[in-house]
C-alpha cells in the first residue's frame, strides 16, 4: 500500500484550514510521528527563534501504525521548538486523539499562528472548525476534560492544556484525556501561546490495513513475547513504573535531594510496592494497550493518575520528602495544572539546594512537604517566587549566579537516575536532542539496570557510545511509529518492521528502521545546530563529572563524559559533535 498522507494545515490567526498531501515516499523517509514532525519543523529552526511568539507551528502527527490495532500502538506525537531548551522537541502520548484523527481521514495537523481569543480546535471527520473557549480558559485539566466530555462524549479524542500552559510556564505539558501527559519540553506553553485551549477529534472511519492475514500472524507472535516478558507482562501491570524505585536503589542510582546523594538500603517508604499496597485504586493506561502501566491512586482526598516513577521521585525523595501521602497529591496537582512533574520537581529541588547553601532565599526547604502544593500553584499562575520558577531551574540558578546547582542538560531538568552509576545514561542525558531526558537520550537504564535486551555494566565506559547511539536510533523509530517504548522492551526492531509491512506494505527491515532512526536523530541534531545548540551543550552538571558518589553500590564513581562523548561522536561520524558531510549524504539529509 502506498498511501499518501493527509495533512490539515490550520492557521489559528486567520481561522483557515487547508488540506495538503504528503507523498508516501516522503513520509517513509521519516516513518511518521516524531520523525515527520522534525522534518516539518525544519524550516522554523533558525537562530533566535522564539517558540512562544506564534511563529513556530505545533505539528501533531500520528504514526503509520496508529489505529491499526497494534499492541501499545495508538500513540501520537507533537513536535515543535521547546520554550524550555530552545531545541527541536517532540513529545508523545497515548489516548484517543491520534487514533481519532486517522479515523477522521487525516494523519497529521500543522497548527500555526495565534488565535485572537481562546479556542478549541474541533475535527469531526471531514469538518474542521475553531470554537470559542473563553469559558474554558482558566479551567484546570480535569474541569476542561469534563466539560468537553459533556459536549462531545467519552469516545472523542481530547488534548488540553491547564493554567500552566495558558501562563507560559516553560515546562507546561499537554494532557490527553484521563491524565496521559505530553510532558517534557513545554509544548503546553506553545499551545497556550497560540490561545489554543484544547483539541477535540472525532473520527468514524477505518484505517486501511495492507495485509490483514499477515498482520494477524505477526500480532500473534508479538503478543506471545509481550505476554512472556516479565517487565511487560508482570512488573508494569502490577506496579507500574514505580517498580523502578527498589531496582534503582539497589543499583545505587536513586538520587536524593537534588542529586546530592543516593538512597541506600531496602526499607524506603516510597517504593512501588508500598504505592500498590496502600494507595492504588486501580490500574489504568492508554487505549489499545495490553500492558496498562498506569495507576489511579488516592491520598489525602486527592484521586488521580500516577505518580509515575519519575514523578514520584521528582516530587518526593529528590525534595527530601518520603511520605507517599504527600507525594501523590503533588503529582496529581501537576497533572491538573498541566505541568511536567520532572521539571517542576527539578526546579523545586534546585531552589531548595540554593536555599540550603544560602545562595538564594526560597519558601521551600528539603524535607518540608507543607509548602509544596502552594508553590506548584504559584508556578502555574506565575505568582511570587513561582514566576521565576516557571522559567525552569537553569534560568533560576543562573540568575542567582549558581548555575552548577541546576541539575539539567540544555535547560531540561534531569530525571531520577544518577548517571554516576549508569555511564551510558549520563552520555544519553548529555546528547539527548531535546535536553536532559531519559527517553530521548535512549533510556540506557533498560540496558544498564534492567538488562534489556542484555545487561551491560552500568559503570563500564568502553562501548557505551555505540549502545547510546543504537538505543537513541531505536527510540526514534518507536516514537515515529508512535508505539510505546515499553512494548519495545519485549519486541525487537524486526517485529516492528513486520508489523509496519503488514499495515502499510512498506518494506523496511529491522536494520532499515534503525537507519531511519539514525536519520531522524541526525536531522534533529542538525536543526539544533542551526538554532545555536551545539556540542558545547552536550555537558552534564559538574556534580556528575567532579564529585564521586559517596554511598551505595557505585561509591567512588563519576561520569567519564569526555571519553564517552569521544566514542559516541566517533560512532556516529560526528567529528567534534557535528555530523560529517559524508554521514549527512549517506542518510540522504543533504537534499
Amino acid at each position: 500500500m502506498t498511501k499518501d498522507w493527509n495533512a490539515l494545515n490550520i492557521d489559528l490567526s486567520s481561522g483557515t484550514v487547508e488540506r495538503e498531501t504528503l507523498s508516501c515516499e516522503y513520509v517513509r523517509r521519516f516513518i511518521g510521528g516524531r520523525g515527520l514532525g522534525a522534518a516539518l519543523i525544519a524550516p522554523y529552526a533558525t537562530e533566535g527563534v522564539d517558540p512562544l511568539d506564534g511563529s513556530v507551528p505545533l505539528v501533531l502527527a500520528a504514526g503509520p501504525l496508529t489505529a491499526a490495532g497494534i499492541p501499545s500502538g495508538d500513540r501520537f506525537s507533537l513536535s515543535t521548538i521547546s520554550p524550555l531548551t530552545g531545541t527541536v522537541m517532540d513529545t508523545n502520548s497515548g489516548g484517543r486523539l491520534g487514533r481519532s484523527l486517522r479515523r477522521a481521514g487525516s494523519d497529521l495537523m500543522i497548527i500555526s499562528g495565534v488565535s485572537a481569543d481562546p479556542v478549541v480546535l474541533v475535527v469531526e471527520d471531514d469538518e474542521v472548525r475553531l470554537e470559542g473557549a473563553l469559558d474554558l480558559w482558566g479551567c484546570t485539566v480535569s474541569e476542561t476534560i469534563l466539560r468537553l466530555t459533556e459536549r462531545w462524549g467519552k469516545t472523542a479524542g481530547m488534548s488540553v492544556i491547564g493554567p500552566a500552559g495558558e501562563n507560559g510556564v516553560r515546562y507546561a505539558s499537554i494532557m490527553t484525556e484521563r491524565m496521559r501527559a505530553m510532558g517534557r519540553g513545554g509544548a503546553g506553553a506553545v499551545m497556550g501561546s497560540k490561545n489554543l485551549k484544547a483539541m477535540v477529534v472525532i473520527g468514524s472511519g477505518k484505517v486501511p490495513v495492507h495485509d490483514k492475514e499477515r498482520l494477524k500472524v505477526v500480532l500473534e507472535e508479538s503478543n506471545r513475547w509481550l505476554r512472556a516478558h516479565p517487565v511487560t507482562s508482570k512488573a508494569l501491570p502490577a506496579l507500574g513504573t514505580p517498580m523502578l524505585v527498589k531496582i534503582c536503589t539497589r543499583a545505587g542510582i536513586f538520587p536524593l535531594r537534588n542529586f546530592q546523594s543516593v538512597a541506600v538500603g531496602e526499607d524506603q517508604a516510597y517504593t512501588g510496592e508500598e504505592l500498590a499496597k496502600r494507595f492504588t485504586v486501580s490500574s489504568s493506561g492508554c487505549t489499545g494497550c495490553y500492558i496498562q502501566c498506569g495507576r489511579v491512586t488516592e491520598a489525602e482526598g486527592s484521586r488521580g493518575e500516577g505518580p509515575e516513577y519519575e514523578s514520584l521521585w521528582a516530587l518526593g525523595p529528590d525534595l527530601g520528602i518520603e511520605d507517599l501521602a504527600k507525594i501523590i497529591p503533588a503529582a496529581h496537582r501537576c497533572n491538573e495544572l498541566g505541568m511536567d512533574t520532572i521539571s517542576a520537581g527539578g526546579t523545586l529541588a534546585c531552589a531548595m539546594e540554593l536555599a540550603q547553601r544560602d545562595v538564594r532565599p526560597s519558601t521551600v526547604r528539603f524535607g518540608e512537604a507543607g509548602s509544596i502544593m502552594k508553590v506548584l500553584e504559584d508556578i502555574a499562575y506565575r505568582r511570587g517566587e513561582g514566576d521565576e520558577m516557571a522559567e525552569g531551574s537553569l534560568i533560576m540558578a543562573r540568575n542567582a549566579g549558581a548555575q552548577e546547582y541546576a541539575m539539567q542538560v540544555k535547560g531540561m531538568e534531569l530525571p531520577g537516575y544518577d548517571p554516576r552509576g549508569a555511564q551510558g545514561q549520563g552520555l544519553a542525558y548529555a546528547t539527548s536532542n531535546r535536553g536532559g531526558c531519559h527517553l530521548r537520550g535512549g533510556y540506557l537504564i533498560a540496558r544498564e539496570i534492567l538488562g534489556i535486551p542484555k545487561k551491560v555494566h552500568g559503570t563500564q565506559v568502553l562501548g557505551k557510545g555505540g549502545h547510546v547511539a543504537r538505543a537513541q536510533d531505536f527510540g526514534a523509530v518507536a516514537d515515529s511509529l508512535s508505539v510505546c517504548r515499553f512494548a519495545t522492551f519485549a519486541l525487537a526492531p524486526e517485529y516492528w518492521s513486520r508489523m509496519l509491512h503488514a499495515v502499510t506494505g512498506w518494506e523496511l527491515g529491522g536494520e532499515d528502521l534503525i537507519r531511519t532512526g539514525e536519520r531522524i536523530i541526525t536531522l534533529e541534531r542538525i536543526l539544533n545546530l542551526e538554532m545555536g545548540v551545539g556540542p558545547d551543550s552536550d555537558r552534564l552538571p559538574p556534580r556528575f563529572t567532579n564529585e564521586p558518589l559517596t554511598e551505595g553500590a557505585c561509591t567512588g564513581e563519576v561520569v567519564h563524559l569526555d571519553d564517552l562523548l569521544a566514542e559516541y561522536y566517533a560512532h556516529r561520524e560526528w567529528p567534534g559533535g557535528i555530523p560529517s558531510e559524508n554521514k549527512i549524504k549517506e542518510l540522504g539529509l543533504d537534499e
Binding site: 507472535e221 568502553l462 549502545h467 543504537r470 513486520r498 529491522g510 536494520e511 534503525i514
Partner: protein, 207 residues
C-alpha cells in the same frame, strides 16, 4: 587502545567469559572462532589463533573500523568480515563459532528452522549462506552483512555461525540457542520423525 584501567578490565572480562562458555559448551574447538565488539570507530577483535577458552588482555587487538592500521597484522582472519558487518549494521558485537550440529545440518538446507519452542521464540528461521570460499573471504565480506541486517544469526555452509547483538552475551545466547535447536531437530529426525511431521504448524517459517 589503552589497556589500563577498570573499563578495559571489564571488557576483557566480557570477552573471556563469553569465550570460555563457547569453548566449554562445545561451540568451538581449541583455536577456532572469534569475537569482536565495535567501540566508536574502532573494532576490538580477538587475536589470530587465540584460544577462546583462555583469553587474556594480550589476545585482544583493536583496528580501525574502516582504515587499516598495525592491529590488522594481529587480528583474526575474519577481521574484514567483522568490519564489514559493523559498517553496514547497527550491531555492536559479533560472535563467530563452529557449532557442529548446525554445521552438519547446514550442508543440505537453505534455512534451518527450529522445531523446539525456545528456538522458535528466538528465530523464525536461520538462513544458510553458501559461498565458494568461506574463511576470511571476499565472498563473505560481500554477502554476510546484508543477511545480518535481517537475521540475528546466519550459518555459513560448511563453516559456522555468525551471530550479532548489542553485546557479546547476546551473540553467545543466540549461538547456543541455534545449536541447541539443531541438536533437537537432529534427535527428532534420528527418532524417525519426518521433516513433514515437524513442519506441520510452522507458519512462522514464513513469518
Amino acid at each position: 587502545m589503552n589497556k589500563e584501567g577498570e573499563s578495559f578490565k571489564r571488557l576483557i572480562e566480557e570477552f573471556s567469559r563469553v569465550g570460555r562458555v563457547l569453548f566449554t559448551g562445545g561451540l568451538n574447538n581449541s583455536h577456532s572462532g572469534n569475537l569482536s565488539v565495535r567501540l566508536g570507530d574502532r573494532v576490538v577483535i580477538t587475536r589470530r589463533g587465540a584460544m577462546l577458552g583462555e583469553l587474556s588482555a594480550d589476545d585482544l587487538v583493536d583496528v580501525g573500523l574502516i582504515e587499516d592500521d598495525s592491529g590488522i597484522a594481529l587480528a583474526s582472519t575474519e577481521v574484514k568480515v567483522h568490519r564489514a558487518v559493523f559498517a553496514a549494521t547497527s550491531h555492536l558485537a559479533i560472535v563467530h563459532t563452529h557449532p557442529r550440529t548446525a554445521t552438519a545440518l547446514s550442508m543440505g538446507r537453505d534455512f534451518l528452522v527450529p522445531v523446539d519452542d525456545e528456538g522458535r521464540y528466538y528465530f523464525k528461521r536461520i538462513p544458510v549462506l553458501a559461498v565458494r570460499a568461506s574463511i576470511g573471504s571476499d565472498d563473505l565480506e560481500r554477502e554476510l552483512p546484508a543477511m545480518l541486517k535481517d537475521y540475528p544469526i546466519v550459518m555459513v555452509r560448511g563453516h559456522g555461525a555468525f551471530a550479532v547483538g548489542g553485546n557479546l552475551e547476546e551473540g553467545l545466547q543466540i549461538t547456543h540457542a541455534l545449536e541447541w535447536s539443531c541438536d533437537i531437530l537432529l534427535r527428532c529426525l534420528a527418532l524417525g520423525m519426518t521433516e513433514e511431521d515437524l513442519m506441520d504448524d510452522r507458519t512462522h517459517g514464513e513469518w
